[in-house]
Symmetry: C2
Subunit: 425 residues, 2 copies
DNA sequence: GTGTCGGCTGTAGGCCGACAA
DNA sequence: TTGTCGGCCTACAGCCGACAC
């Protein structure tokens, strides 16, 4: 009948296979999830202690509902600006409609965190896959006129090698997405000059995922040689969700009441973390928080760097100066450390970047730099627009000076490791 | 470029025109909204007093998130089982993705409802349009193979009359949807035997709205002769929305906290009412509530009727018997009237119907019936499956007996008027 | 090395009346 | 009266190398 899928596509094996149930209850492939979440996202390990910031949670909810965090809503039921919690569970998910990745965390508030033995919590983990590539789609890639142009080194690194004795060399690829749905593509090496292409099956994928030029697609080869694929929507596409379920005010209250009730009764509560929606992480490893708050001397005028994700899904550091200190909302959330630093950014293109950040988000440039700043760091020098990786020498120096300043093991919680996985292309 | 709409369609005038902003802030066409909401949905007038039931609100949220109303969540912050409120504002909306209709109500809790003068609130209003038709789509209607077959009487009633001197008679129709988006269709009268069809433009509409066989489409001609169109999804398609924004527990808390805070501070709060998602209305006109609670004698064994919407978007009444009385949740919500009646239904196909209803949802069959029940109402008689409208004689009798029992004006709040608008086809 | 285009081809989208329920 | 189908035509999806940045 008319409700069945097109027969030809199904017969030729280029139609998607059966998908998971819509509920998406199981835990997703962690490598793929992290690849889609991006290089900056790391999740604290289950069983570790974390600091939960209701303000940050509300910021995420407000961003999701496209409302500013309403100033008129009181802190009701009353709740402190941060809760030390045991991270009881983390499950990885992806939105059934948009493939947007998110994590559900189950938090158990700890009543007297100071009394507990400070076990050596390990830092946050970010298992970024090694054998993967990520390409931002061009107009040609997403048009119905043709297929997908695979970057040469990407194809050679991630896809099975073609049999080049064939003319033209071609094979069928099967890649599994976050919902365990299989997608079939014809991979061919042709054209003058020769190039790798995905042809048959590609347009089905593009239309099913509603991909547009500017969105990114990524392929992974996992340990068992299985191909995985995921997508990252362009930043402009805010997954608008005016949510006809609950008013934004009620959601705001819900965040507070759920946490308040859990803290009062020492019971668990659940939150969703949307890495690509939230302006900042609001569940921070306790060790990272402690180091940032107790081991860092911040003053107005201090110079720092902070990591951002580039449009090419890579990372780069931006320079800034601390211009002020103080609570973002001293009435409702006094003595919170959430975004307690007012900052200015060196580059004029910094319009979108936050004007308030939290202590644990920055990498301070300590005394050695203030005594002897290299020319590249002065406020007046106009550097050419930096490319990913052109700070490598500085990185090395930074690590040494920070170790000297903070006592050797400060780096683990600041996520220096494994950041440059996408810059080698 | 590739992001622009198909040129041919745009040039020929069969592509949708510019739409409203995604936020959908303005108030929608009320006639169209009510047509999409269905014949049973009525909204209390702005400025009237209503009763708000948190339990019912939570039921709707749970239905939207596909969770049962969790039994483990306490009534926190504490809130009474019902709040008498002033209905401060009502705005009509439609989901940007699904066209699902919903209403936002702003409620102001009234502290001492008994002290206020009981102004004669008018009953709820349901402006169902007169010049409209609604058709459930067939497999042929939604397939890409052809167009849309318009029922003859529908075309003659709602569409502009064709010029039958042309061969074949044809015209272009422009119909506006809930988002003020215009859709263009070619309306032609052809075939052997002759019939009305929508051809060019129809498949664009079907794919844009993602209509499937079983969904319904409805057309309205308003006062100014402007054509409006709306859709009703088939019941099976639960707009699943696991809502990666807030956990269902937090939403539950949010409902309670928002209402609790508003009641405590005598301030307004906002709720969304999703007519086609909610099992029952949870904002009830105060007058309707009072009449049902204080003027109705309910006892176990009592017979009643209740109105339901049929699959054909019409209405019919089902017979039932009260089998028990009592709070649905005596621990958290004692002395609530929400679904306080346990009921059984006469027909064996009653599997989906609620086993608990509220007083104001039923039409009790009062003493005259108990003294002298007509054969059709006895529990043992097996009536043939009733069709809409075959209770007309009974209706007439019911009205008289109820007026006698309840004092003359009881009918307005029970929505007897204007119910049979779709059964005449 | 790869983004975009013109050219070509095949298929499916879509308009028609036939026919039957 | 209207749901489904076969027939038919054509627009566009989609594969190809050319060419340029």
């Amino acid at each position: 009948m008319y409700s069945s899928p097109p027969a030809r596509l199904a017969d030729s094996g280029y139609a998607p296979a059966a998908a998971m149930d819509a509920g998406e209850r199981r835990n997703l492939n962690s490598e793929l999830w992290h690849a889609c979440a991006g290089p900056l996202v790391s999740l604290p390990p289950v069983g570790s202690r974390v600091v939960y910031f209701p303000q940050g949670h509300i910021e995420q909810v407000a961003a999701s509902t496209q409302k500013e965090a309403d100033a008129h809503i009181p802190n009701y039921p009353s709740i402190p600006p941060r809760l030390v919690c045991l991270l009881d569970n983390v499950t990885l998910h992806a939105d059934v409609e948009t493939d947007e990745v998110f994590a559900q965390m189950t938090l158990l508030p700890i009543q007297n965190p100071e009394k507990e033995a400070l076990a050596p919590d390990q830092g946050a983990v970010n298992k970024q896959p090694t054998e993967y590539f990520c390409k931002t789609l061009t107009a040609s890639d997403t048009s119905t006129h043709g297929g997908f142009s695979i970057p040469r080194r990407a194809a050679e690194k991630v896809f099975p090698t073609l049999d080049f004795t064939q003319t033209p060399p071609a094979q069928e690829l099967v890649a599994r997405d976050l919902h365990d749905q299989d997608w079939h593509f014809r991979h061919i090496y042709r054209g003058q000059p020769r190039r790798h292409l995905l042809t048959t099956g590609w347009s089905v994928f593009v239309s099913a995922k509603r991909l547009q030029a500017g969105d990114s697609v990524l392929f992974i080869r996992d340990d068992k040689g299985q191909l995985l694929l995921g997508i990252r929507r362009a930043n402009r596409q805010q997954t608008v969700m005016p949510s006809s379920v609950l008013s934004s005010d009620s959601m705001h209250f819900g965040v507070l009441a759920a946490a308040s009730h859990a803290a009062t009764t020492s019971s668990r509560f659940k939150i969703f973390y949307n890495p690509r929606q939230s302006p900042s992480e609001f569940v921070i490893p306790l060790a990272k928080y402690h180091k940032a708050v107790y081991n860092t001397q911040v003053t107005v005028g201090m110079r720092f760097r902070m990591v951002f994700e580039t449009e090419e899904s890579s990372v780069r550091r931006y320079m800034g100066t601390i211009t002020g200190l103080g609570d973002i909302d001293p009435i409702r959330w006094p003595k919170s450390h959430w975004r307690s630093l007012k900052v200015g950014w060196d580059e004029s293109t910094a319009g979108e970047r936050q004007h308030r950040v939290s202590l644990w988000e920055i990498e301070p440039l300590t005394t050695p730099f203030l005594l002897c700043p290299p020319p590249a760091l002065s406020l007046t020098s106009k550097r050419p627009r930096g490319m990913p990786g052109d700070d490598d020498e500085l990185d090395s120096f930074m690590k040494k000076s920070q170790m000297w300043a903070n006592g050797g093991d400060a780096l683990g919680s600041l996520k220096f490791g494994g950041l440059a996985m996408d810059t080698s292309w």
